[in-house]
Every structure is written in structure tokens, then in C-alpha cells.
């Protein structure tokens, strides 16, 4: 007896960039690919990933299935190479050929392509991931005109959800908050770095991890830390402040350090490899980033996972990740004195540091691991395309049942 071909959940995933540069959005894009591939092991998927910046040479061979033979059969990368129109053409071809159940745009900047989806795959649901700042203000007309055609918005924080609703008039029932999670590889290798660096800390090391571009530096609050540092050094002269992260603004930051006469107390590491970053986390005693522009703040998760108490500000999505008084201390935005006071109190009180650090690690393990991230996205997929997810999951096993009868 013949049967219909096995049903798969057909998902197309459009990203600006995955590997070519390093930053929060790229990290989340890669993490999402990994999450979908994990989901694909339970819910049969046909996953097409389109990158509009990476070339084929940027995608590590077999990613993300290196060492896991055959598991990547359902994943197809489409990269721009030298031509964005070429990848748009591939997208059009895929939309017609595979009739996706869902098309996920991982950045609003790509939304003009939704017109193509509506035309070529009218049955597909359109979803967009809004990371943070890019949707807090007005959008270009070519983007905003597509917003009414989006079926589902995903944001990592309540804060961004409220912005979407308030600034763009998106109905909240169309928005789902799916907090980010930790990269499992990163989390897995932190333990070794902690072991390696154990004992090297003096109990006086402050750490910020952030990209230092002109756009980011002010918002992320590195300057504010530098301004607060002299007051901290008055009480703890041997304290050190490490800034991990590169970018075009690195030189300007170094100049500020010199102008404040903090060269002996501040170390700018520049662009960091994963190993250096892990060692920095392992060496530090307090994580500080008084950012006012966080759509979520994966960096806080990394710090909490590494058992670092966090000092940050009550602004944007930070309070959703860092629990004031439980996993860190939050101060008012721009309040230099309060920041210095919070840092000093932590450097002074080892018991408080330990208690916040333990609570932070616990919070990450309970809510923000990769498994949690996968489960949240899996639930979201099931809500977006219930019939396709159900059919794919059921069909997988019914096909086995049919095979058991020798195809009868």
C-alpha cells in the first residue's frame, strides 16, 4: 500500500549575517540555527537558511553538525557570496519549490523581502525576530509598510515587546517573548577556564564585555564605569578594570583612560577570542556593564554563568535578566556615584559577591541554558504551525509503523 510522502515542517530562516562578523545578532543567529537543528531531531524539518552577508567560505563545513554524520541532511545553507540578488533568487526558487510553512526573518532590515514571500508562498506564515534597539524607534518606510503583513513577532524581552506595541502599534497578541540562552559550547568550555584561572584573581577585578563601536560605547556605559573608577580606586587602590571587546571606538576609550590617568588600573583587551574571553570571565570578580541599550543582554548570562555578580542599570531589558539584589545590583541610569558605590560594596563584601554569584548561576541554569532556549523556540514553532508540527511529528513514527509492515 502506498502512502503520502513523509511530511516535514518546512522552515525558511533569513539572516543578515551568521559568521562574517562577531556580535550579539550573529551569535543569536548561529544559536538559532543550532536550536532548529536540535528541534529537527524531534520534529522532522526541512530547514533552508539564507545569509545575505556571509559567503560560502564563512560557513564552517558541516555546521552545526560537525562530527554528527547525516544529521544535517535537513539543513541547506544559501549564502550570498558576491551577490545578494543571487541569494534572493535562491529564496524565490525555494519559496516556490518547497512551499514553506513558516519564514522567519531574523532582522527587520530584511522585511522588504516579505513581499516576495507573500507573492510566491501565500500560505507561509511570516515571522520576524526583533532583537532590541533596531525596533525601539521609527523604521524606514520600506520596512514599516511590511509590518502589518507579519503574522508573528518574536523578541527576547518584555521591554522590546512593549516598544513594538507602543512605537509601531503591533498588537501584543502577535508578539512572543522568547528570552535568549547560552551557547552550549561556550558554556561547556567555561569550566576549564575557571579551573585554569582559579587563584589568579585578587578579589579586585572588574570586567566589562562589550563591542566598542562609536554607536555602542556610550550606550553600553563603559565611559560611565571609567568615570566611576577613581572613586572605587580610592577605597581599593589595587582594583583593576578589564574591558574585553574590540571595535572602532577602542582607541577613543584608551584615550579616555589616559586622560583620567587610569592606565595602571584599566586594561583594554581589544577583540577577544573565545579562550581569552573565558579566561577574562574566570579571572574577574565583578561584572559591570551599565548599558542602557540592551535588547536582552546575553553578556549578563555569560557573567552569571561564570559566577560573577553583576552591576548594571535599571534600563531597557536589563532588569529582566539581572534580578536586582538577587543576582546583581542595579543602579539608576547615568548615576556615576551610585555605580561607584555598588562596585565598592561588592569589592568589599565577599559574602555578598558569593551570594549574588550563586544566585546568578542558579538563575541561568534554571532559565537560560541552551535547552531552555530550544524548548522555548520549539513551543513557539508548535504554536505558529501546529498542523505542520503535529503532522511532521506524527508522520515520522507512522512512517516507521508502515515500514515495519514492509511497506504494506
Amino acid at each position: 500500500m502506498s502512502s503520502f510522502p513523509k511530511r516535514r515542517l518546512r522552515l525558511q530562516f533569513l539572516g543578515t549575517e551568521f559568521f562574517r562578523d562577531h556580535g550579539g545578532i550573529q551569535n543569536i543567529n548561529r544559536l538559532l540555527v543550532r536550536a532548529f537543528c536540535r528541534i529537527g531531531l524531534r520534529t522532522p524539518l526541512a530547514l533552508d537558511v539564507f545569509s545575505f552577508t556571509d559567503g560560502p567560505e564563512h560557513i564552517p563545513p558541516g555546521y552545526p553538525f560537525a562530527g554528527s554524520q547525516g544529521a544535517g541532511a535537513f539543513l541547506q545553507w544559501h549564502t550570498a557570496g558576491r551577490s545578494r540578488p543571487a541569494v534572493a533568487w535562491q529564496l524565490a526558487d525555494c519559496l516556490v519549490g518547497s512551499r514553506p510553512d513558516l519564514v522567519l526573518f531574523t532582522h527587520v532590515a530584511l522585511l522588504p523581502l516579505a513581499e516576495l514571500v507573500r507573492t510566491l508562498a501565500p500560505g507561509a506564515r511570516i515571522a520576524v525576530l526583533a532583537h532590541g534597539t533596531e525596533v525601539w524607534g521609527p523604521l524606514a518606510h520600506r520596512v514599516s509598510r511590511m509590518l502589518p503583513h507579519v503574522d508573528s513577532f518574536v523578541t527576547p524581552s518584555e521591554f522590546t515587546m512593549q516598544k513594538l506595541a507602543a512605537v509601531h502599534g503591533i498588537p501584543t497578541e502577535k508578539i512572543t517573548v522568547l528570552p535568549h540562552g547560552l551557547d552550549p559550547d561556550w558554556a561547556g568550555s567555561c569550566g576549564a577556564a575557571v579551573q585554569e584561572c582559579a587563584g589568579s584573581g585578587t578579589g579586585r577585578v572588574l570586567l566589562s564585555v562589550t563591542r566598542l563601536t562609536r554607536a555602542d560605547t556610550a550606550g553600553k556605559g563603559v565611559e560611565l564605569v571609567l568615570q566611576a573608577l577613581p572613586a572605587v580606586l580610592e577605597r581599593f587602590p589595587d582594583a583593576r578594570y578589564i574591558v574585553a571587546g574590540g571595535g572602532g571606538d577602542l582607541q577613543r576609550v584608551q584615550e579616555i583612560v589616559r586622560s583620567l590617568g587610569l592606565q595602571n588600573s584599566v586594561q583594554c583587551l581589544g577583540p577577544c577570542s573565545g579562550d581569552i574571553l573565558r579566561r577574562a570571565y574566570a579571572t574577574a570578580d565583578v561584572f559591570v556593564l551599565p548599558t542602557q541599550v540592551e535588547g536582552f543582554g546575553v553578556v549578563f548570562l555569560e557573567a552569571m554563568f561564570n559566577r560573577l555578580p553583576v552591576v548594571a542599570v535599571r534600563a531597557s531589558a536589563t532588569p529582566e535578566v539581572v534580578e536586582d539584589g538577587v543576582t546583581g545590583l542595579l543602579v539608576a541610569p547615568g548615576d556615576c556615584a551610585a555605580l561607584a558605590s555598588a562596585l565598592s560594596s561588592l569589592l568589599e563584601d565577599a559574602t555578598l559577591r558569593r551570594s549574588l554569584a550563586d544566585a546568578g548561576r542558579d538563575r541561568v541554569e534554571r532559565r537560560y541554558t541552551f535547552d531552555h532556549f530550544v524548548a522555548r523556540w520549539e513551543g513557539w514553532l508548535a504554536a505558529q504551525a501546529p498542523e505542520a508540527v503535529y503532522a511532521a511529528r506524527q508522520g515520522e513514527f507512522f512512517a516507521l509503523a508502515q515500514a515495519a509492515a514492509g511497506g504494506n
Binding site: M1, S2, S3, F4, P5, K6, R7, E378, G379, W380, L381, A382, A383, P386, E387, V389, Y390, A391, R393, Q394, G395, E396, F397, F398, A399, L400, A401, Q402, A404, A405, G406, N408
Partner: protein, 634 residues
């Protein structure tokens, strides 16, 4: 007939003789199954922990205290709790006596215990009847659970680290407090699709129904399930030779006669359910041949348009039985409906009719009743026997695209009825069931279920568990012809999970034992060994059964059209029942709220009122709502 239960826990013995409250609660829950006696026994397995066995007894054979359970065999040290009837127990007893075994009672329980002592697990092959039992093997320090071949008697179990618990009723396990009152999304999915949960899945997380024809060996905290019987794998390669056919018919006739005769043995009053249809009339006719004064019972409706009492009256008159006709009105039904729903061990779209028939039969002074259940499944009585082979043909000969195109083209036409929607679903290839039969028994399509389930519950469904049983079914039917394939699947899917389970819970709630002679396994084996083409005839329904019945049945009975024994729900749900059903469906309650998008259910109710939905699609949610409210916790 009884209710049995047991509980092993990795803990030190209590040090007093009192029955632990967990076991008492299970026994109390099963009191209607066994109003005549109660017993409990505690053991300490050498491997550790404490094991309790318990039983409630409905005395049918050997009404004396000698039939008390748990029953002990002093020579072996074995203990037994047993629910059901071994109909060939006299034959087995004689065989055992010839081997020197002495008996202290007149019933079948002691024979079962002695059979195990004599033949071990192989005794299962010799048993002819309906049974579920638990036997403590003292020598092996192992517990054996077993269930009859066709799944007439249930046996539920739950295993967790340091604990193993079993009972005849799912709700007994819940009553014990040893099992969390938690909805199993896999069970819910199964119920929504088929109107009854497909074994071994249940509505409660962590609880399993021991599959029919299987035994479970538990020892030292671990257990394994093994099948000891299955339906025949293929019909005999018979040609159309009239002599061969006549021989086979004669053999079937003898087996039917033996099956009914064996089930007439009882020390308490016995009757026959008689609807006037072919199956029940055949059972009544054979019973009347062997008993001088058979009592027959028919339930009929006060509403004239639904009454079919005259048909049964005529059969009873022709057979010369003592006939009892019990008339049920709408108000009778509404008054007793809460009791009927409370009697459901698991939610079911069917079963209410069995509850009322059982209740009125019991009230008429009968404790054992024979039913014609199984005739339609084994002798091609359903519409599915004509429809499903055609669907099979279409799957074999039409390409996917052609079926899909036909489904899409006909969708507007088919959308207006449930049956049409199922056909459209099948044509479009949704559902992906490994055999078209499953479409024929669907209440809600997978698409409808997917839309209705909350995503987090949907992701918890263990399709592999259902598919595992389905794979077994597919292997089993692979070598059968199209008609017998349907027969096997009707037995394994609908009869086992809906009809037999409902019959057990609804009759036992009324302390009535129902015996199903057409489901004697020898009859089943014979029926499935006959070629499917012998079972269909354009002029006669169930021709094999008619031929096997010979002259036992008056000609008028044979010509009567197929009429399900069905209450006029469509009428009632729009009448007196409307208020209570509408109120129940207004909100889901905490358990279902966490599992289903309830507006979809209210939509089904509206569609029913508009005449676009069969009553069963509404009734299933009413039952589900009531059952979860009574038995589960959020």
C-alpha cells in the same frame, strides 16, 4: 468477576496487620466490581520491599467462602488475585485431578492457581475465557500479571523507581494516591482522535494498560511485557469448493455453539441482552437451545421513533425466551446520566447505552448477561468492510497527486459533514496513517487535534508509543486479505479500546458480569482463518454468521437491516440535555484549560447546533470535561 489490585513499595514492612490505606482506597474504589467479598494479603519479597495483593469479589461460581481472594496454594506458596471467568475450568480441573491435584472449592479461581502450579506460564495457552490476574510466584519471587487474549478484562499498572502498582481500574490507581492525577497528553491526543484512548496508553501520565494477550513479569523492581497470543496472521488458502466451505461452516457452527454453552455455566441468575439484531439473536438462540428458560432483555425508548422493542419481542417469541423489555425515557436518561459518566473508568464517546442496559438488567435480578458483541468485527458487519478495501485499492492504484487533487476539488462538497471531512482528509494525505482504516474510525482529524492542543502539550505527545502498537498491527495484517485486514483492525482498535473497555466498566459499575461468546478466542481464530471474500454478500449481511447460525434463527431476523444499538443523542442533545451540556462546555476547567484551546470546542458545539457536526463530536467533549473534573488535578 472481581476487581483486583496490588502494590509493591521499596520500604520496610509496617509491622502491623492492618491493610494500608492506599490498598484500602483501591479496594473501596472497586467495590461495585465485587460487592460480595474483600480480601488483602501482604508479602515481603526476598529481594526487598513489601508487596500487597487485594481483591473485591462478585461471586458467580462457588458462592461459598472457599472462593475468597487472594487465594493461596499452600504447596507452592503462590498467591492469586483474579478477575474474570475461565469458562473451561471444569475441563482443566478434571485434567489436574487426573494428575493428583485436590481442590477445596468449586470455582475457577482455584483451577487457575493450580494450572499455574502445574504448567507455569504455559497455562495461559490452556485458558479459555476472559481474565486479568496477578499471581505471586513464591519460588521465583516474581509477580506475574496477565490479561486475556482479546482484552475483555482490563489491568492497569504504573511503575516508578521503588514502586509498582496495578489494578483493574485506572481510577483505583488514582484513588490509592500512589499515582499523580495528571493528564497524559498522549492519552488526550488518542481520545480526541478515536473517542477512546488506545492501549497501552491511558489518560493518566505514567499509567499503562497491559495490552491484551500479554503477560507482565515483575521481579526485583524490574518488569518486562511479553505477548503470549495474537490474532492469526493470515487466512487459510481456501478455494471456493462448496464441500470445503460447508466443512468450515460446520466447524464454525460447532465452535459458536460451544462458546455460548460454556458461558451458560453460572451459580447466579443469567440472561441475554437481546436487541433483535443478528448477533444477539444468534447468542439467544443458541442459549435457548441449551437452557430451558432463558431470560432475554431489551432496552427500548419511550420516543416512538427510536423504539426497536418490537423486533426483539418477535425474536424472543420465536425463541420462546422469558423476555423483559425495559423502556427508557429521556427523563430516565437525564436523571441517571451523572451516574453513567461517573462509571467511566476512562473517558469514552460510547458506553452510556451499556450502562443503562446493565443497570436495568441488574435491577431485573440478573447477575450474568450474555452479549452479541464481536459479531460485526469478525463477520464483516460494519460499513468499513466495504469502504476501507476500496480506499486501499485507491492508495495502491492512484498516485498521490491524483488523490490530493481529488481531495482539493471535492473539499467544498465534503466539508459539510464529518464523514465528508474524513474522506477529504484521507484524499489529501493528511494524517499519514499507515492504513486507511484509521481514517474510518477518526472522530477528530489530526489537523483538528493539532489546532486544538496547546503547543506545549502537543510537544509532549509520545507518538512513538502509539506508532509502536500501530506497527505491530501493520505487521499482523500484512498477509491478510483486505476484508480480514479490516476485521483485525476493528478488533484491535475499535472493539478492544472502545466496546470492550466500555462494556467492562459500565457493566461492573452495576455489578453485572457480561460475557461475550462471539469473542471466544477459538471463534475469533476460526473467523479470521476464513477467506474475507466469504464474509461479504450483496444480498445478505454477515453471510458467514447467517450460514453458521443455520436454522437456529427465524428467517425474519436474518433480513433485518443493520441498526446500531444507539440512543437518540442527536435529539436529546438539542432537547433536555442541551442546558447541562452547554453549561459544561462553557468553560474547560483547569485541567483541560492547560491542554486545549477551548474556543475550538465551543465552535464545535455551535457547528453541531447548526447541523454541521455529528453529535459524537460534542458528546466526547462533554464526557472529557466531566471525567477530567472528577478524576484529574491541574
Amino acid at each position: 468477576m472481581c476487581g483486583i489490585c496490588g502494590w509493591w513499595e521499596q520500604r520496610p514492612p509496617a509491622g502491623h496487620a492492618r491493610v494500608p490505606p492506599q490498598l484500602s482506597a483501591m479496594l473501596r474504589q472497586m467495590a461495585p466490581r465485587g460487592p460480595d467479598d474483600e480480601g488483602a494479603q501482604e508479602f515481603q519479597p526476598q529481594t526487598g520491599g513489601v508487596l500487597h495483593l487485594g481483591a473485591r469479589r462478585l461471586a458467580i461460581q462457588d458462592l461459598s467462602a472457599a472462593g475468597h481472594q487472594p487465594m493461596h496454594d499452600s504447596a507452592s506458596g503462590n498467591w492469586l488475585v483474579f478477575n474474570g471467568e475461565i469458562f473451561n475450568f471444569l475441563e482443566l480441573r478434571r485434567e489436574l485431578e487426573a494428575k493428583g491435584r485436590r481442590f477445596h472449592s468449586q470455582g475457577d479461581t482455584e483451577v487457575l492457581l493450580a494450572s499455574y502450579c502445574e504448567w507455569g506460564e504455559n497455562c495461559l495457552e490452556r485458558l479459555r475465557g476472559m481474565f486479568a490476574f496477578a499471581l505471586w510466584d513464591a519460588a521465583r519471587q516474581a509477580l506475574l500479571l496477565a490479561r486475556d487474549r482479546l482484552g475483555i478484562k482490563p489491568l492497569y499498572y504504573a511503575a516508578s523507581p521503588g514502586r509498582f502498582v496495578f489494578a483493574s481500574e485506572l481510577r483505583a490507581l488514582l484513588a490509592s494516591g500512589l499515582v499523580a492525577r495528571e493528564l497524559d497528553p498522549t492519552g488526550l491526543d488518542s481520545f480526541l482522535k478515536f473517542g477512546a484512548v488506545q492501549e497501552p496508553i491511558t489518560m493518566v501520565r505514567g499509567v499503562r494498560l497491559l495490552p491484551a494477550g500479554c503477560l507482565l513479569r515483575w521481579k526485583d523492581s524490574a518488569f518486562q511485557v511479553q505477548r503470549y497470543w495474537d490474532l492469526p496472521a493470515a487466512a487459510l488458502p481456501l478455494n471456493g469448493d462448496p464441500r470445503v466451505r460447508a466443512d468450515k461452516l460446520e466447524a464454525l457452527r460447532e465452535e459458536l455453539d460451544r462458546a455460548v454453552r460454556m458461558r451458560l455455566v453460572s451459580d447466579v441468575p443469567l440472561g441475554v441482552f437481546l436487541s433483535g439484531g443478528l448477533d444477539s439473536s444468534l447468542v439467544a438462540a443458541i442459549a435457548a437451545r441449551h437452557c430451558s428458560r432463558v431470560k432475554t432483555f431489551t432496552v427500548t425508548f419511550a420516543e416512538e421513533q427510536f423504539a426497536e422493542g418490537r423486533k426483539a419481542q418477535r425474536v424472543a417469541r420465536l425463541l420462546g425466551t422469558e423476555h423483559h423489555e425495559i423502556t427508557v425515557s429521556e427523563s430516565d436518561l437525564i436523571a441517571a446520566l451523572p451516574a453513567a459518566i461517573s462509571a467511566m473508568d476512562q473517558p469514552t464517546v460510547d458506553g452510556i447505552n451499556t450502562f443503562f442496559v446493565s443497570r436495568v438488567t441488574k435491577q431485573a435480578g440478573v447477575t450474568v448477561a450474555l452479549s452479541g458483541l464481536g459479531g460485526d468485527e469478525q463477520f464483516a458487519g460494519y460499513r468499513s468492510f466495504r469502504l476501507v478495501p476500496r480506499m486501499e485499492w485507491a492508495e495502491d492504484h492512484l498516485p498521490h497527486w491524483a488523490r490530493r487533487a481529488a481531495g482539493l476539488a471535492m473539499q467544498p462538497l465534503l466539508r459539510s459533514s464529518d464523514r465528508g471531512q474524513k474522506m477529504s482528509l484521507w484524499l489529501r494525505g493528511e494524517g499519514a496513517f499507515p492504513h486507511p482504516f484509521y481514517h474510518s474510525r477518526l472522530l477528530l482529524s489530526p489537523t483538528q487535534v493539532a489546532r486544538m492542543l496547546r503547543p506545549e502539550r502537543m510537544l509532549e505527545i509520545r507518538f512513538e508509543e502509539f506508532a509502536e502498537d500501530m506497527a505491530r498491527q501493520q505487521r499482523l495484517i500484512a498477509r491478510h486479505d483486505p476484508v480480514n485486514r479490516v476485521s483485525c483492525l476493528e478488533l484491535l482498535v475499535y472493539l478492544r479500546n472502545t466496546l470492550l473497555r466500555d462494556t467492562d466498566s459500565m457493566s461492573m459499575a452495576n455489578s453485572l458480569e457480561v460475557r461475550v461468546p462471539l469473542l471466544d478466542h477459538r471463534v475469533t481464530e476460526q473467523a479470521l482463518l476464513l477467506p474475507g471474500r466469504w464474509k461479504l454478500d450483496d444480498r445478505q449481511r454477515k453471510p458467514m454468521l447467517v450460514s453458521a447460525a443455520g436454522k437456529s434463527l427465524p428467517p425474519g431476523v436474518l433480513q433485518q437491516p443493520k441498526r446500531g444499538f444507539e440512543f437518540p443523542w442527536n435529539h436529546w442533545l438539542r432537547g433536555e440535555l442541551r442546558g447541562s451540556v452547554e453549561a459544561a462546555l462553557a468553560e474547560p476547567g483547569p485541567v483541560l484549560d492547560a491542554a486545549l484551546h477551548w474556543p475550538a470546542v465551543r465552535q464545535i458545539w455551535s457547528e453541531f447546533l447548526d447541523g454541521r457536526r455529528h453529535w459524537s463530536r460534542v458528546w466526547m467533549f462533554y464526557v472529557l470535561r466531566e471525567w477530567t473534573a472528577q478524576n484529574l488535578a491541574a
